[in-house]
Symmetry: C3
Subunit: 341 residues, 3 copies
């Protein structure tokens, strides 16, 4: 990623409150991963897993925690900070080339009664309905649609081609990636005379502070109570969150997970990719659900579950091992059983 | 959901042909679920499952079937109707605040030869191709793209950012939710000299009356015969329907289901979330496929299948129980088998 | 599919270098599959599987390989070519009714510094950022967004409502279908003081020549190295490709597959629908992964794997058969084991 202007290692250190070990005059024109960085790039290393990559890097300057400072090659300038990930984010926010141009593009459409605070950005061909509220620093990407009555907190970043349906509420600093659909009517029908008749989805959808929602993910609005995604939770791409679902705080929901209606995911849960949760169940605080697992009952707080149906991961491992041992015995066991009958 | 204008319980009863028990002058400014409704809201209760929620509700007026009338709290006005779900839909259609503004937004693009009947709505930044036909009352959301030659029946509602590909045919009252892609070319290739060469997808895509298609779902056009979704079927979010597939009438297809090429889903089938159907098979009328199930052969009419590969649900339950009993015996059985050899 | 102008069988043969058997003056107004074609349509047949359909077809003219020429009905004109699929593609490209209108629609937005070669097409409400490069013959569909610094080779076809994120590189003749999201930031977080903090995704995304990417599919950019899709690979709808993933050349990735971060899929691999690959593993050249399979370790080159966790397909079949035989014996085996203890 190119920076909008070249900076020195010393300027970076001043911005992020870091200590320079090496040449502070080193000029940096971009930010790149350790493996791809050249002498004009700033890189970063966060944990002990980066030691081997540090030995090989050609980066000009590297943001590191103090524990890694001795691993920075002698040709590079080290910038020592407590939290390198935070520091590189600050550098990108300050000097990154894709800093938003503030203002409302003339091809955007803004409905009556819509209000905002401070400076905002609305991209080309975006459509904002009536009576929408946008907090200071909100960015609405090209082609996105914000329906009537939606309320966005401060610093939300809605990427291109997103839909925020009517009356949806986003907290502060919510990030919604391209193609995500937030607050559409859920999949609720009753059977009347052989026809499926839609049940009105009258409740809302609330996304709390610091949530991120991935590309092409769908979060439906509630039928009988609001669908909620709790503060700090991160949802990956192509995830389905059905009506009335409540996801707690600081959860991780990986790609292609599906959560059926009215289920509750408590705080700090991790749902791995392609896992599916049936409706009306509770996944307890701090539990972990393995990839592709089918959860059809409650999961205890702190549990790790796998298999289908989901159960304690160790018992799944035991059963898998036992069945692998029984398979080659099948001829013998069949013969014994027949003799015994 | 706020109403566009406050109405009385009596006005609601007159609209839906209901009987008022209580105060007909009760003023209602919104429609809300039983749990969230306040004294100024209309709510509804459809089945016996709502009895507990009726006892707790603070709603000002409630649409109920006669069997539930005695459960309406004394402070609320009951409006007794045969089908509360239909009634609340009529109230929303008549008084809802998000009633469409009819007409074509000046930022929309309409191709030559495109014709429509009666009043229609086309949102901002929508693109409608050449020789398209739109029935009376069609609504095309912001940013949607309707390609050349597509034909939509009366009263279709295409939400924002949808794609309807060339020559696709929608019946009457079809609802297509945000981000759905209808009639794109299917995934068909032949291997020639080590390269995958695309097979032209020459057939079409037909969506019959009263079908609903969920957010970010993809329904591909046919290669050798039209892809068809039958009347009254409802498809949830993030579903994949491949080329040449035929889905019958009044089916329910839940989120993240995948149906591979040329398979046939007969009438009144229920496919639960994340289920997958292999290609060129038939799922018989009225059958039910459980969540996450992999269907790799035909399913008999009326069957309920689960497991991988899909088979009769009761035999799956029997096998699961049997294997759970065998697992703790593995040491003993292994010893017995070794003695016996 | 209607043609933009009626052509004769002789004209088609001249275009594709074919030999006419029958009436070269036959007039053709459209292209259709064998089953749906009428006397005014051109159809094609590619392999021996088409013999039965040839016997029934009413097509006016048919592109066939020489091995199928004797199966063309006497009323139809045969046009014999070595590769009928290629031939019909050429006919559609030359005479198809949906030939693009070249030029930039006045409602599109083009950023400063963006350059292109030869003629291109940019549809209504499309947004192209700054410093983008578009090769000759590129087509950008309605409502698509190409972010700053992206580079597209010659002859790319980006359908409607696609996102190409900043600095993404597409080779020549890449096809991206509606709603696909290419190069968005991957799902990478570190836990700091109980909060998930985003790790900057600094690497890029490169899609090589002749790749096709399906509707609503998401391919994330890299965190530490570029995400790559190799030449000639074809990806279906609703697929998730995470950060740092490398997909080789001439692979087939079917609908709803998920590939987790940093995994490597070597050349000529086939991943069937809804399969899931865990992170940091390698799927060897020419291997095949069955539908819905969960791959949690490396797959050997040339292997065919199924089951969960994925393992050799024949051993899965053996285990499935063995367990089906053990299930009915469970009562007897349990009794024997208890006696023996």
């Amino acid at each position: 990623m190119r920076l909008s202007t070249a900076v020195t290692a010393g300027q970076v250190a001043a911005l992020v409150g870091g200590e320079v070990i090496g040449v502070p005059e080193r000029t940096l024109a971009g930010v790149a991963p350790l493996d791809a960085a050249g002498p004009g790039d700033l890189a970063f290393a966060a944990g002990p897993g980066s030691v081997a990559r540090l030995a090989e890097t050609r980066a000009g300057a590297i943001l590191v925690p103090s524990a890694l400072a001795t691993h920075v090659p002698p040709d590079a300038t080290a910038i020592v900070v407590p939290a390198p990930v935070d520091a590189v984010q600050r550098v990108i926010a300050e000097f990154g080339a894709d800093r938003a141009e503030w203002g409302i593009h003339p091809s955007a459409t803004i409905g009556s009664g819509t209000r905002w605070t401070g400076r905002i950005r609305v991209g080309p061909a975006a459509t904002i309905g009536r009576d929408v509220r946008l907090g200071a620093g909100c960015q609405i990407g090209a082609g996105s649609v914000i329906e009537d009555g939606a309320r966005l907190g401060a610093g939300c970043r809605v990427e291109a081609q997103v839909t925020i349906h009517r009356d949806v509420v986003l907290g502060d600093r919510v990030v919604v990636r391209t193609g995500a659909r937030i607050g559409g009517p859920g999949f609720g029908y009753v059977l009347q005379d052989g026809r499926h008749v839609r049940v009105p989805q009258l409740a809302g959808c609330r996304i709390e502070d610091d949530v991120e929602i991935g590309a092409n993910t769908a979060v439906d609005r509630g039928a009988t109570r609001d669908t909620v995604v709790g503060a700090g939770s991160k949802i990956d791409n192509l995830v389905q969150v059905a009506h009335n679902v409540r996801i707690g705080s600081h959860c991780i929901v990986m790609a292609q997970v599906g959560i059926a209606g009215s289920s509750v995911v408590e705080d700090e849960v991790m749902l791995a990719g392609q896992a599916g949760l049936a409706d009306h169940l509770t996944v307890g605080k701090g539990s972990r659900v393995a990839a592709q697992v089918g959860v059809i009952g409650n999961v205890a707080p702190g549990a790790t579950v796998s298999g289908y149906p989901a159960r304690d991961h160790r018992s799944v491992l035991r059963q898998t091992a036992a069945l692998a041992r029984l398979t080659p015995l099948v001829d013998t066991l069949e013969r014994i059983a027949q003799h015994d009958e």
